[in-house]
Symmetry: C2
C-alpha cells in the first residue's frame, strides 16, 4: 500500500517537473497530455491517476511559481535598503514592485501562466481554495507597508487598496512586457513602476495630511 | 474588375462580422477557419483571398473594438461632468478610467481579445503599424488631462506617465474582471479605479507643489 502511494507521489512530482518545463518554454499551450506522458515515461492514462485533470496539474505548477516568487521577494526584503531619505514604507513598496517586475521578466512564461490559466466549468470558473489563499498572501505583502503609510485606514480599505496597488503594478508589468504594445526596455519599465508607486504613495500621504485636523 | 473588388470587400466585411461574433461569445479560441467559412457561406480557401491569415482577420476585429471604445469614450467625455469641487483634470481622468472599466465589463471577451492576441513569427511578434497607431491614440486620451495637471512635465515624461497610468488602470480592470482572483462586484471595481486615479493625481499634484519654489 505504502509503496503504491509512494509511487503515486513520485509520478506526481515528475509530472509537475515536466509541466513546469513545458510552461517555461511554451506557456500554457504547451501542456499536452501525450507530451507530458512521454516526458514522465508513463502512460497517458496514468496522468489521470494522480491528477483529476490537466487543470489540476497546471494549478500545481502555478503554486510552485507563487512559492518561487515569495522566496524571491523574501530575499529582496532581507537585503539592505537603498540609500536615500525615503519614507521606509514608500521604499518598501517601491522595492516590492521592482521585485515583482524583475520576477515577471525573468520568468515570463511561468508568470503569465499564473494569470492566463482559466477554468470554465458548468458553474463558471472554479479555483481551488488553497490557490486563493496563496494569492491572498501575495496581496498581504503590500498591505503591511500600506498600513504603515496610512495607520488611519480601516482594514477593509487597506485590503482593497493593497489589491488595487498590486493590480496597478501588475498592469504596468504585464503591458510593459507584452510586445504587442511595444515592449519597453527594463530600465524604462523600472522607471514606470517606480513613478507609479511613488505617486500613489505621495497621494496617500497628501490625502492623509488633508484629513488631519489642521 | 470592379465587381471582383467589390465582392472581395463584401466578403471581407462578412468575415469580420462573423469573427466579431465568434470572439464576442467564445474569445480568440473561437476563431476557426471552417466555422468562419460556414458563417460567411464561402469556401475555407476564400478567406485567404481577402486576408493573408487569420491573425489579420483578428486585427481587423480588434481595430473595430478600439473604434467602438473611442466612440464610447467620446460619448462619456461629452456628457456633463459630475458635481463636486474637483480639479477638472482629475475629474476627467476619473471619468476616462471609469469609462474604460465600463467598456471592458460590457464587452469582456472582445476587450480581452485586444490584449490576448499574440503573433509570434520567426522574427518575434509582429504588429501592423496602423494597429500601433490606434493604440497610441488610446494613450493620448490620458496625456491631455495629465498635461493639464502637470504643465511642468516634459513631453517624454508625460507620454510615459500616460502609458503608466493607462496600464495601471488596465491592471485593476483586468484582474478585477478575472474570476480567478475572485471577481469583484462592479461597484467595488469602480471604487478601486477611482481610488487609484485619485491617489496618483494627488501624488502628482503634491510632487509638483514640492518642486515649486517656496
Amino acid at each position: 500500500m505504502l509503496t503504491t502511494e509512494k509511487r503515486r507521489q513520485e509520478l506526481r512530482a515528475v509530472l509537475i517537473d515536466a509541466a513546469e518545463r513545458a510552461i517555461s518554454t511554451g506557456g500554457l499551450a504547451a501542456i499536452k497530455a501525450r507530451e507530458l506522458a512521454k516526458e514522465a515515461r508513463c502512460a497517458v492514462g496514468a496522468i489521470y491517476n494522480v491528477f483529476p485533470d490537466l487543470d489540476a496539474l497546471i494549478f500545481a505548477v502555478n503554486a510552485r511559481t507563487l512559492a518561487l516568487f515569495e522566496h524571491f521577494v523574501a530575499r529582496v526584503e532581507s537585503s539592505p535598503p537603498a540609500e536615500g531619505d525615503d519614507n521606509p514604507a514608500v521604499a518598501r513598496l517601491v522595492r516590492l514592485a521592482s521585485a515583482y517586475l524583475d520576477f515577471a521578466a525573468a520568468n515570463h512564461a511561468r508568470w503569465r501562466a499564473l494569470f492566463d490559466h482559466r477554468i470554465v466549468g458548468p458553474e463558471g470558473e472554479t479555483i481551488p481554495d488553497w490557490y486563493i489563499a496563496e494569492q491572498a498572501r501575495m496581496f498581504s505583502l503590500v498591505e503591511k507597508p500600506l498600513a504603515a503609510l496610512r495607520p488611519d485606514m480601516d482594514d477593509e480599505s487597506l485590503r482593497l487598496f493593497a489589491r488595487t496597488l498590486f493590480s496597478a503594478v501588475h498592469g504596468v508589468v504585464g503591458l510593459g512586457l507584452d510586445a504587442k504594445l511595444l515592449a519597453l526596455p527594463p530600465a524604462v519599465l523600472h522607471r514606470q513602476v517606480e513613478m507609479l508607486v511613488r505617486s500613489v504613495a505621495a497621494g496617500l500621504l497628501a490625502e492623509r495630511r488633508d484629513r488631519l485636523p489642521g
